[in-house]
Amino acid sequence: MKLEKTYTYLLAFSMLCIILMVLGIFTIVAMNGLPYFWLKNVAKVEMTDGKVYYGEIAGVNPKAENGSETKLKVGNRKIYGQDFLRIKDSEIKSVSYPKEIIMLERDEWGNAYGIISDIGGKEFDNIHSSVMEDKKEIMSLEKGRLLSINEEISKLNHRITKKSETGLEEKLEKLKTESAVIETDLNSKREQALIKTFSLVLADGQTDELKYYDIVKKYQPNDVSLAGKVWISVKRFFEFIFADPRESNTEGGIFPAIFGTVILVILMSIFVFPLGVIAAVFLSEYAKEGFLVKLIRNTIYNLAGVPSIVYGVFGLGFFVYAMGGSIDRIFFSDYLPSPTFGTGGIIWGALTLAVLTLPVVIVASLEGLKSVPHMYREGSYSLGSTKWEVIKDVVIPNAMPGMLTGLILAISRAAGEVAPLMMTGVVKSAVALPFDSSFPFIHLDRKFMHLGFHIYDVGFQSPNIEAARGVVFNTTLILLIIVFALNLTAILIRNRIRNKLSRSGV
């Protein structure tokens, strides 16, 4: 009796450890990531030797080699060569937070800190917003009409030179003139936008001539109230989710990576679910139990243990080169040797993940099929159903919760997988999303960005790791949230079906 109690406590303790581990990961990630959205005050640090710095205090290390040290994010990488500076606390004369210090988020070279003296705040905002509108227009022209014209031109060129078709020259000329017109227009617009500059006075008295065109956001952190800071932080969080990355992913948002991950997982589910269910139905309902079936079943169990990188190599060889290559030879031979489908793309990534997660779905579906009460089958047969009708009407609907459990496990596994994707189409920075407004709207051959790869890339391949730390933690946080959300969706669907099947339902 006493021993039994001990075991109960032991189990409860293990359970507690597990829960703490899960919550721990989440908390650590959130605690490291979320503060980066907070708009920190910019300090003016005066040193005993007369030097002055503007910067965000990023941390204090009291146990540094030469006494206590403060890490200061001074920005202006273009001028100082690095974002962070370590200064000895003993050499600091005073720290103050003057209201007029400005922090600028830029397209390039990271943040800038300084004081704008040659132009009023309001005036600056007016010019900046008008330049931003021009910039938007320029971008949309570049990515829209100009891109599609250039694509058409290259197609026409190809037809003329490789296939010696005639009668296309006129069309080509027309397109070329249109492209030229747009380009001149673009150039003039860009020149007009680029011409507008202002000067920023840095901490050490230097002035930096900056273009409005390069400025993403202007903040005056020391002049913002607490409520304002909270509001700005929330806005920055949503900007992180919905904006494109800047500065080789170390700044800006992660929208393309979120989009890529979600689409990849959805595509993977579309591929793996029917395939897994069909395989399981065949194995459990149709195949005659024998040596071969046993062999196949055990092979499937074992496939679940194959390292994912092996699936990546398989995907590269089978999907990308063999399948994609064949598609290119048959349908896109005009464009060879430049590949269309014969290179990494979101469809190949999704298919590779589908193969990777297939065993999970099959095993769960087999269990689900096994758990359908025999009396349902008998009932259906006794009402004059054929075997297929029994399976379709009674067996599969009742096995659906089990099958969806398989899909849930598959989604969890697939959303975090990176290694196989590195060979089948994930990129550091994708030109365009797999879905957009240009015909045929769905571009499954396009390369894509992925949150898991983003973490690896920004965290370990980035030249400016110190500055990218926030992006890494927050990307991890978003990935966790997305996996959670995708799972939750699948779980809700499953529970709906389960309720329908049980007494309480309908």
């Binding site: 009460p373 009396m375 349902y376 089958r377 008998e378 009932g379 259906s380 047969y381 006794s382 009402l383 004059g384 159903s385 054929t386 009708e389 009407d393 009674v394 609907p397 009742n398 329908k500 099947l501 049980s502 007494r503 309480s504 339902g505 309908v506």
Partner: protein, 264 residues
């Protein structure tokens, strides 16, 4: 012994089902041994006997449900209207829609009440959302004396019904198929006395339109609902007679022992 222990077989002139020299094997185990019997149309026939005597096995052969079990084998024949149900060109699904079955444990599908009843008719080509279908559903539920209890919740899950209601729903589901014969495999064994009574009344009600074969453990039930009773023991038909005769005046010693409760 002057009386014939199979006097029912002599009485019944035009049987709907005729079992002739029927043997049945589960693997190498012979569980039915040369059974000969005739089932009278539009009457209730009961099979009684101790567990494992083969009464359910025999019943499940009438609509070939035993086909679903692997490694079974039959010898001899079962005739439905004089035609073998084991002939090669027979359409088993057609046979099963002529010979309906109600199981020991009620097994409504996890769908709505309406969908349960409509399941078989829809496969026969009745149009969804047609008035024919709604009429048929109502008729079947009325036939199974369930209509008044469920008419307001036709589109609720059938699993929300009580055990007795579920079993009557299963009967209604069979009625909707418009079968000739209804096989009942211990339909009341999982039900309380009141539900059992309702089902027995129902059997008496539908008997005039359907041939009913019922397997039961409960001798009183057999006496109450059936006109003919067959007593089986270890795979053999021991005695088959009109219910009154079999219970009041059993021919065989084993029958007498069983109905007086000396074994079984």
């Amino acid at each position: 012994m002057s009386k014939d222990r199979f006097s029912a077989n002599n009485e019944i002139a035009s049987p709907v089902i005729e079992v002739s020299n029927f043997d049945f094997y589960y693997g190498s185990v012979k569980s039915l041994n040369s059974v000969n019997m005739k089932i009278k149309p539009k009457t209730t026939t009961a099979f009684i006997g101790p567990s494992g005597c083969g009464k359910s096995t025999l019943l499940r052969n009438f609509n070939r449900m035993n086909d679903l079990i692997e490694g079974t084998k039959t010898e001899g024949d079962i005739l439905l209207h004089g035609e073998s149900i084991y002939r090669k060109d027979l359409n088993v699904t057609e046979l099963r829609s002529k010979v309906g079955m109600v199981f020991q444990k009620s097994n409504p599908f996890p769908m709505t009440i309406f969908e349960n009843i409509a399941y078989a008719p829809l496969k026969k080509g009745i149009k969804k959302r047609s008035s024919d279908l709604t009429d048929l559903v109502e008729e079947s539920l009325r036939g199974a004396a369930l209509w008044d209890e469920v008419k307001d919740k036709l589109h609720k899950s059938a699993l929300g019904l009580s055990g007795g209601q579920q079993q009557r729903l299963c009967i209604a589901r069979v009625l909707a198929m418009k079968p000739e014969i209804i096989l009942m495999d211990e339909p009341c064994s999982a039900l309380d006395p009141i539900s059992t009574m309702k089902i027995e009344n129902l059997i008496a009600e539908i008997e005039k339109d359907y041939t009913i074969v019922i397997v039961t453990h409960n001798m009183q039930q057999a006496a109450r609902v059936s006109s003919y009773t067959a007593f089986m023991y270890v795979g053999e038909l021991i005695e088959y007679n009109s219910t009154t005769d079999l219970f009041s005046n059993p021919v065989m010693k084993q029958t007498e022992d069983y109905i007086t409760g000396r074994f079984g």
